[in-house]
């Protein structure tokens, strides 16, 4: 099934991907798994976390504690960074305004002003993301990336984030912020350059939110390139086997067998609900949907991420 049509390039041919979704649906997991797929294809890729969540470095905890807010190589070709608005501001000022900028960046009063200005943290964060995606990096010694994947904040804030540059450009009208805001906003609106991936678990609320996100993005003329439904239970039992399980439940005298049978029936019920929810979303997004299986593990580590990346790879993004 072709995922894309027309002139929109395949997902991983873009340079900037925003991965968003409701809290707790596995955005970091999906962002990192996408990063693994890209790196396997030989793309120099970076996964950028916003607002110092520091989850991705945790996913790779085998590599030990990394330095915060620095580009860090997780695997050959796959980097990660945790973006801190304050640090992004200092960097921006240094590049844009030289010594004066440095003085401003060092001023606590200025910092307090900038950090308290509504939307400024978001603008600075997204500005840094934009910088990472440039072929000519501003950061001294920064090599260009083929792909930047952003592990964006929860849905509501996520759309706000994508809108921030345009809003700032509108508010500031003229001057450097307006110019910068417009440049970034144009980049985000360019489907050749930027893609949006929504992650949802197959439950009512995340699915509702994803559908609302699709509407909102459409209103802002931004594309929703792909939806990842994360955490689907495997279809273990056929419909006519359920009667057999119920029957066995009445027959067995073993408490352990009863527990196992109840667990099976319970998972079957959940799996059914999950598929109903997935189908609701699939209809809304015209099949631009990829499924990831539930990970039965202590936590999602490198081994599990490799498996998920394999599933994404097969979906030929």
């Amino acid at each position: 099934m072709p995922l894309f049509s027309g002139s929109v390039p395949p997902l991983l041919d873009k340079r900037l991907l925003f991965v968003t979704g409701k809290g707790g649906v596995g955005k970091s997991t999906v962002a990192t798994a996408l990063g693994l797929v890209a790196a396997r294809r030989g793309l120099r890729t970076i996964v950028a976390e916003l607002a110092s969540q520091e989850r991705i470095q945790g996913l790779f905890s085998e590599n030990g504690e990394g330095e915060r807010f620095r580009e860090m190589e997780l695997k050959p070709g796959l980097f990660t960074i945790s973006i801190d608005p304050q640090q992004a501001m200092e960097e921006y000022l240094r590049v844009k305004a030289g010594t004066l900028g440095q003085a401003l960046g060092a001023s606590r009063l200025f910092q307090a002003f900038a950090m308290a200005t509504p939307g400024m943290r978001e603008l600075l964060s997204i500005g840094k993301v934009w910088e990472l995606a440039q072929l000519h990096r501003r950061t001294r010694g920064g090599a260009p990336y083929d792909l930047v994947i952003v592990d964006a904040p929860a849905t509501g804030h996520g759309v706000g984030l994508l809108r921030t540059p345009r809003t700032f450009a509108d508010i500031a009208r003229v001057g450097p912020i307006a110019h910068q805001g417009r440049t970034i906003a144009d980049t985000i609106a360019d489907p050749e350059f930027t893609g949006v991936v929504a992650v949802a678990t197959p439950e009512e609320m995340p699915i509702n939110e994803t559908m609302a996100l699709a509407d909102e993005l459409a209103r802002d003329k931004l594309p929703l390139d792909l939806v990842v439904v994360n955490g689907l239970y495997p279809p273990r039992f056929a419909f006519d086997e359920i009667a057999e399980l119920n029957d066995a439940l009445t027959k067995t005298r073993s408490a352990l067998a009863r527990s196992a049978l109840r667990a099976a029936l319970s998972e079957h019920a959940r799996a059914g609900t999950q598929r109903e929810q997935r189908d609701r979303l699939r209809e809304r997004v015209d099949g631009r949907l990829v499924e990831l299986p539930y990970v039965f593990a202590d936590h999602v580590g490198l081994a599990q991420l490799d498996v998920l990346a394999g599933v994404l790879e097969e979906a030929s993004l």
Partner: protein, 381 residues
């Protein structure tokens, strides 16, 4: 302890937790359970699942609590002696109402609401949901119409946002740092000393004149109202710290939400905020105990055809991985706080989105210690 005991003598219950852990559902179940005990309860929520909103009859955006029709709560299993009210928070409208309330006259309120900085501030900005949720909570508390208010905190990735975001926005509204910039000839800038003027020039060069002008206009409009914001912030702070307020953490048993619950608990303690307990949703209880997985297969083989028995056993093995994970995480959580303040709700067969569903959770939240232990024993046996 059950929820009724945790909330005994409380007037406000703040349900906090990271995203995707069932916070909205838990808030509704708590409100329903407390209403059943005879209290007049209002639950304030943002964006519940459509079906839950329908079930409670709060799909209309009125930004005021509405009584859930008693007929909707009649299920035959739980008698609701009190009243359940519910509202869906509209952050933009709450912000507008706040401006209406503290503006010196309607004309000024109108000007502020039309200001572009304000429009941005009251909608897009992170923190506005949190700030308005607290503002609404405070307002409802002042009206003394309810015995108990249950606040479902806005969805965010990080539970701590709820404590931090309003402060950031408030700091801006109070304009502590800004006032100095906004009055270039005023005392503020002189007090800053010689460094201030080039700083101001630099700020203009970096941000653009118009942004500064817009902000200046915004703060001129706010004028003395900034002190009202400070005053309100202080009152809200007092409300959150009051002995009649309870913070209830909601989490699932997975690793990250438990980590956040632990941090949040520590933060509440450090900040001197009243902590009531933790509700852990979607717990996978250990069904195997000290028996061998082999025994599962043997027992199943007696009642199922071989192929099916293998798949049931595989499902059980996968379930057990989650049970071990949950057990480990619950152990970490219990190590950090009073174990009696931990309420466990098992993984249910279906999402909860109606009154019947809320009642299924009710037993795990409001049952006595013995009743709750029996429920879990039944699961395991």
């Amino acid at each position: 302890m059950n929820v009724a005991e945790m909330l005994d003598g409380k007037r406000v219950c703040v349900c906090a937790g990271s995203g995707g852990v069932g916070k909205t559902t838990t808030s509704a179940a708590i409100a329903l359970g407390m209403a059943a005990t005879g209290a007049k309860v209002a639950v304030v929520t943002i964006d519940p699942a459509n079906r839950l909103a329908n079930a409670l009859g709060v799909e209309q955006l009125e930004n005021e609590p509405r009584r859930v029709e008693p007929a909707r709560l009649e299920t035959g299993t739980l008698e609701v002696k009190g009243e359940l009210w519910a509202m869906m928070l509209d952050p933009k409208r709450t912000f507008d109402e706040l401006i209406d309330r503290i503006a010196p006259d309607p004309g000024r309120a109108q000007e502020i609401k039309e200001n572009r900085v304000y429009r941005e501030l009251s909608t897009a900005v992170s923190g506005s949901q949190e700030l308005t949720a607290i503002a609404k909570l405070y307002e409802l508390d002042q009206e003394h119409r309810f015995d108990l208010l249950v606040l479902d905190t806005p969805p965010s990735r990080n539970a701590l946002d709820f404590l931090d975001a309003p402060g950031r926005l408030n700091a801006f509204l109070e304009g502590r740092a800004l006032k100095a910039f906004m009055r270039p000839t005023g005392l503020g800038i002189r007090a800053l000393g010689r460094g201030a003027l080039p700083l101001l020039g630099g700020l203009r060069r970096i941000t653009g004149i118009d942004l500064i002008t817009d902000l200046a206009v915004f703060f001129q409009l706010l004028g003395d109202m900034t002190s009202d914001f400070s005053q309100r912030a202080a009152q809200v702070e007092r409300l959150l710290r009051a002995p009649t307020t309870a913070f209830l953490l909601v989490t699932s048993a997975a690793r990250e939400p438990i980590d956040e619950a632990i941090w949040f608990g520590q933060r509440l303690e450090a900040d001197g905020l009243p902590f009531a307990g933790v509700v852990v949703n979607r717990v996978h209880h250990d069904l195997l105990g000290d028996r061998e997985p082999r025994e599962v297969r043997r027992a199943l083989a007696r009642v199922l055809p071989p192929g099916l028995a293998v798949r049931v056993a595989e499902n059980f093995r996968d379930y057990h991985v989650l049970a071990r994970r949950d057990d480990h995480n619950l152990g970490r959580l219990a190590g950090q706080l009073d174990e009696r303040r931990l309420l466990l709700v098992p993984q249910l067969d279906d999402d909860v989105h109606d009154v019947e569903g809320l009642l299924r959770i009710h037993r795990y939240l409001f049952g006595s210690q013995a009743e709750r232990e029996r429920l879990i024993d039944d699961l395991v046996a």
